[in-house]
Symmetry: C2
Subunit: 149 residues, 2 copies
DNA sequence: TGAGGATTGTTGTCTAGGCTACATTAGCCC
DNA sequence: GGGCTAATGTAGCCTAGACAACAATCCTCA
């Protein structure tokens, strides 16, 4: 493998993720949510009342990054911060009615986007691809968790 | 497939790419280049004297994004802008001696990182994974090129 | 009970990328 | 030549994420 090889898996994976984000964001631009924000939405839809740290864990993202995401989404009326009785450090997060309504629309766009992206693959290949990617992901998670190097 | 499924391929792929970037950047932090900057380096190593637009095309990235990347790398002494004789709009890009030296080191770190990430897969599986990802990528490229939707 | 350590969220500073609008410069064609 | 169009790079404004440092709060244990 050489730096000259455009098919190097490392390149390809970053590209795939960037392209998915770009395509998805373009498709849903008129709704006013981005892909990353929609991920927040799916998480809070399932677990309303989660704290910011819990949300960050679910998204596997920095606490600070999650906090800023919530800032944006709160400003735009998608998410509400409510204080926790009993622990004044915690913000409990809830979706607004608008957000709950948008959830379904966004999900079907997301599904269609991924379906389109995977269209060239057969059902079997999709399955293989998904399973292989999941294994790579969990390997990376342990590498990232192990404090680098 | 439901929003509740953490193994949804759409989630997994973004996660894989983000984790690779994080792990790689952490490993090479002391060198002073990030993964994205190292990608620039590999491209200019192969094609010294490329214009900014050509570089943007090679990276499949916005012209503006590429321009800012070059700003940062020029400031840090990795890249040089030289004006073109004959077309005053164009900046021709060249690596500095430092950058050419760093190229090899970065490449082996990149290779090791990807190798580690793919470690759980057999040789055959790696191959499958790479080929499947490449097909998904080219599908996404045509989707992104086709002006969204 | 009170001191020290852990947790939670925020802020600052950085890279990275996208889109739009724009000035400059080339090229082409009348 | 002169005017239109295309290409090039830049700047402004936005999201997104990482890391570090910090204040407020909570918890544990001596």
């Amino acid at each position: 493998m050489s730096p000259d090889d455009d098919e190097y898996i490392g390149y390809v994976l970053s590209d795939v993720a960037r392209l998915i984000r770009t395509v998805f964001d373009r498709r849903v631009r008129d709704i006013g949510l981005t892909r990353a924000q929609w991920l927040v939405l799916t998480r809070l839809y399932r677990r309303p009342g989660a704290s910011q740290t819990e949300l960050a864990d679910m998204l596997e993202v920095d606490r600070a990054s999650a906090g800023r995401m919530i800032d944006r989404m709160e400003k735009n009326g998608w998410v509400e911060r409510r204080s926790d009785d009993g622990d004044r450090r915690i913000n409990r997060l809830y979706l607004t009615a608008d957000a709950r309504r948008a959830h379904k629309a966004m999900w079907s766009i997301a599904e269609a986007t991924v379906d389109d992206a995977l269209a060239p693959l057969s059902a079997t290949e999709r399955d293989q691809f998904t399973r292989l990617a999941a294994r790579v992901k969990s390997q990376l998670q342990s590498m990232a968790g192990a404090n680098g190097s």
